[in-house]
Amino acid sequence: MTTPSTPVTAASTSGFITVQSLTKKFGPNTALDYVSLSLSKGETMAIIGPSAAGKSVLLKCIVGLHGADSGKIMLGGDDVSQVSSPARKHWAERIGMLFQQNALFDSMKVWENICFRQIERGTMTRKEAKDHAVGLLGHVGLSEDSAFLSPGDLSGGMQKRVGIARAISTDPEILLLDNPTAGLDPVLSNHIELMISKIATQHGTTVITITNDMQIARTRYANLVMMHAGKVYWSGPTNDIDDAHNEHLTQMLNGSSKGPITMRMGKRGDHMVA
């Protein structure tokens, strides 16, 4: 750890983002239990799993909000397992994150939100930042006018787009998206997923997305990690998932293999059709 420049064995075995036997506890609760995953540069990965599976905690560990209790997080060969790891400083600018509740700052305008980092660091003048933000807003399908609104004045879908614009504002190498389509209707979800795919291919960004939608995970992402109760339950390329497997995973996602939730949802669906 004292010599981060020396090649670490783990880096050779795997890709750009590597998580090794990561464990994280909050008091008596184990949020992450020996989680391991690996993703090559420019690849996309969906994390899927029921609530309290540890998906968000995993992303927060990667972005550097939590340190590992044990295990390792490697980004491009640098050890960033701890919040205070020396390599963290140099990675902060290269990761963009969208939070589940967007976490836009109500204390500032949309454009200031998008370029807060650049304004605070002094890497852009306020005028440059404004122009940059307006450009990014166009990128995520929002009008120039929305730049001068407060986040509270926007709809849920618009807030998500602003959140994504903020995440990509430094043209990061890694994009972490916590439920970018939660609470949105299918048409809008599709729009946003399409946009994410576009950003990923255009910029060669490595993307990890948390989602609850098996369909989206299978169609839009090359790799899939299935989590349950802090453990990785299944991981691999989405192409490897056959239909039988898919059904099993979907049932698992719905809480139990007996699938009481699936049945309930089916019934509610019937009512809605009738």
């Binding site: 927060k60 972005v63 550097g64 909000l65 400083k89 902060a92 600018e93 990761i95 994150m97 939070f99 589940q100 509740q101 976490a103 836009l104 700052f105 109500d106 204390s107 500032m108 807060f116 980092r117 304004i119 605070e120 002094g122 890497t123 852009m124 003048t125 306020r126 005028k127 440059e128 407060s150 509270g152 903020r166």
Partner: protein
Amino acid sequence: MSKTQNAPGGVRSKTVVDYLNDENVRAILYQIIAIGLVILAGWYLVSNTLVNLERQNISTGYGFLDLEASFEISESMVQYSAQSSYATALLVGLLNTVKVSLLGIILCTIIGTIFGIARLSSNWIVRKLATVYVEIFRNIPVLLQLFFWYAVIPNAFPHPRDAFEPLPGVLLTSRGMYMPVPVADNAYTLMGIAAIIAFVAIFLIKKWAKKRQDETGQPFPVFLVGTGIFIGLVFIAYLIGGAPTDMDIPELKGFNIRGGTNVSPEFLAVLIGLTVYTSTYVAEVVRSGIQAVPHGQWEAADSLGIKRSVALRKVILPQSMRVAIPPLTNQYLNLTKNSSLAVAVGYPDLVSVSNTTMNQTGQAIEAISIFMSIYLGLSLLTSLFMNWFNKKMALVER
């Protein structure tokens, strides 16, 4: 009703009953009756009062204000003696009320903010101490707390003979606190002018720095430079004024302490009592304000690599202000109104002076009307200021 009106060709002239059933007529009629009853009751009470006063040979009116008060007031911020008028006496009381309220508001905000943040500390001892402080002083009636401090101060400190001197020239005694004051000199006027010039300069620099940051993105250390300018200018003015060093230092002469300025035990009791009591409420307001900002805001700022102090200043505090200002206004109003309890420990505030005036002149209704209007005015002024402040803060974030 509607049937008869809708009948073809049947436009029937309205009767009185129709009018009484009309919604609009009824609404107005009820209001007229209600206002009439209020006026009637008011007139009844006022006329009774006038008759009673006349029977007791008390003339009404505010003419008494010009008469000689012929009572002493122990502490005053303006020139006052027993020969002054009742109006001056009431002014002295008002100023004393404003003095203790204003100081109380400033101190309770500072102390309350510290304890409010301490209640959220990750340090167990700090957190528990803050909780104990808040729970104790919040749950004892403020009047009893005034009695407590008034009993403590004269007894906890020594007789002037062996005054406790924590700092050179500052004497703590059972008769209050004595502090040295500089002997009046032209240099101090000069320093005041210098301070005003410094403030204007700082304001201009701040504007220029903001403009420069907008254009070039380079921040400017406004606080450091501003502090430097302020201290420098005031110090130069002091030197130009001849650097006076004469101080009026309090000293024991005979049985009492002469010189300097005295802070009376009554004033201290009221100030400490009101400050401590209200600071517990301010602490709760501050705590809830900070907690009202979602934790995700900290995390988002953190993930952007923003320093915690910057996040607190630019993200968290502006949002908690929005939640905290209205309840904070309530606490300031409470403190100002609670200052009327000062009469209980003999601090010559507005109520205390009004009471004496009332007893001497018998003009109870007039005296009460004066101090009630003054308290109403003070509270409305506070509200106006806080509303303005609230709007300003709201503008920053919207």
